[in-house]
């Protein structure tokens, strides 16, 4: 694969000669797209140069059928903004180069993304700073002026009063298409969501769609160096991002702290202060129940992909055996039906 990547880079880097690729490793995680890191060296202008890259390749099937062009557009839109993102280099729609479509971005050095490492005592000093920074950045994502940006070409903006309906219909359709067995708890939750729509947001914003510990690249100095995994990004109700990050699924420390790093009340306070927008608690409740439904749609998609033999990624049956029932348990709780 190193030689094929080198050949691709040579075709895309004008003036680069003798391109070589080394230190190619697949990074654990990245259940929806394969994530690889590598080092490239080349000769240019008489000098030998080197750079480290990340390659995100689409698998034949995964947890999520997402549009790489949309993800690339969101990364590109936030370049040089107050929202840190890796620099995007190339997007490739021709699957013949590397047996799958892909994009390549800059690798950010000296960062962590591991959901458990941030719980370790070595991170005690940095963790609260990272947690606060995470919700300050979320306020910046939601403050981004998407009107007039490249995002309008890839994302349709809903009216404030239809944000909830569009997302619910989208994820209900995902469950319709992917459930291999009936999902009575998710179906009851969907009926509840229809009967109890949230108040419309004061503003339609960029929604990252998967904003949580696990998709932030953090540094020991207590700062976040990049927000990644924009594959579910869209325009909608900003409260959706808060609710998603608050899900029990991501309570990595199992002590109620969201993402294993911050209490919900503190996260909301940081966000409200940074954004200048109060968080409507009724909307937060609605989007919390919705988040569990959306997550269930993702787990069911992965289950079907594996069951039908479209992928052999072992993370998918693990998700099926553990997270589908855990999501049902979380849904019972968020619906006030846990007993």
């Amino acid at each position: 694969m190193e030689e094929r990547i080198a050949a691709y880079l040579a075709s895309r880097m004008a003036g680069a000669e003798d391109v070589r690729v080394s230190h190619l490793y697949r990074i654990p995680g990245g259940a929806s797209r394969e994530t690889w890191m590598f080092k490239a060296t080349w000769r240019e202008g008489g000098e030998r140069r080197a750079h480290e890259f990340i390659l995100r390749r689409d698998p034949p099937a995964s947890l999520l059928e997402s549009n790489r062009e949309v993800e690339f557009a969101y990364y590109t839109a936030f370049a040089d903004s107050k929202v840190p993102v890796p620099g995007m280099r190339w997007i490739e729609h021709d699957a013949s180069h590397l047996d799958g479509t892909f994009f390549i971005m800059d690798r950010i050095a000296e960062i962590e993304s591991n959901t458990r490492r941030i719980q370790e005592s070595a991170w005690d000093e940095a963790r609260p700073k990272i947690a606060r920074h995470m919700y300050e950045i979320l306020a910046e994502i939601h403050a981004f002026e998407w009107r007039g940006s490249g995002l309008e070409a890839v994302s349709e903006a809903p009216a404030p009063e239809t944000c909830w309906k569009r997302e619910l219909e989208l994820w209900e359709a995902v469950i319709d298409a992917n459930e291999l067995s009936p999902q009575p708890i998710a179906r009851a939750a969907i009926r509840w969501l229809r009967r109890n729509p949230p108040p419309p947001p004061a503003r339609v914003t960029v929604v990252h769609g998967d904003y949580r510990v696990g998709n932030i690249l953090y540094h020991r100095e207590g700062r976040i160096r990049a927000v990644v995994d924009w594959e579910m990004a869209h325009l909608g109700d900003p409260i959706e991002d808060l609710a998603w990050g608050f899900m029990k699924d991501w309570e990595w420390a199992r002590d109620g702290r969201k993402g294993g790093i911050i209490d919900e009340a503190e996260a909301v306070a940081v966000y409200e202060r940074a954004s200048g927008h109060p968080v409507d608690r009724d909307a937060l409740r609605w989007w919390s129940v919705f988040s569990n439904v959306k997550a269930q749609g993702i787990w069911l998609t992965g289950t079907k992909s594996f069951q039908e033999g479209r992928t052999d990624e072992l993370i998918l049956p693990m998700v099926s055996y553990t997270l589908i029932n855990a999501e049902d348990e979380a849904l019972l709780e968020s619906l006030g039906r846990a007993g």
Binding site: R26, P182, P184, I185, A188, P317, Y321, T322, A326, D328
Partner: protein
Amino acid sequence: MRPDAGRVLNGVAVALMTKVAPEVRTPFGQQLAGLSAVLLRVVATEFDRIADRLSVENGAVGAILSDAAAVLPDASLAVRAREAADAATAPDLRVSTLQAINDRLRAILVEVHAAIEETPGEEARAMEERIWEELRESTRRRHVEARI
């Protein structure tokens, strides 16, 4: 067959963790070996309990559908609920047979639950609570300790 499947799967899991993972050079490969081991342990648990879980659940959901038929205002749904309840007992104990019956029963349960929610009266409320109790119980039956 002895050693039973659970013991074999757990043995493979231990081998993966203690013999294979330390020999793997990349973080991705090590993670894959660890994930495989945990997955085998989860499958071992499921292998042992799945027939019992499906059998018990099919009986419980069948009983609910049978009783709900008397509360449902929609006559055609009531008929389908009774028919599903009557077919809740499996002709054999193959997991595939039990699972197919479970899928049919829970599909009707979704419809019955939605209809009961819209049905006024104390009987409907009591039935609704009974359905929720079964849904809670269904998560207890499927609960696994392992998490990703």
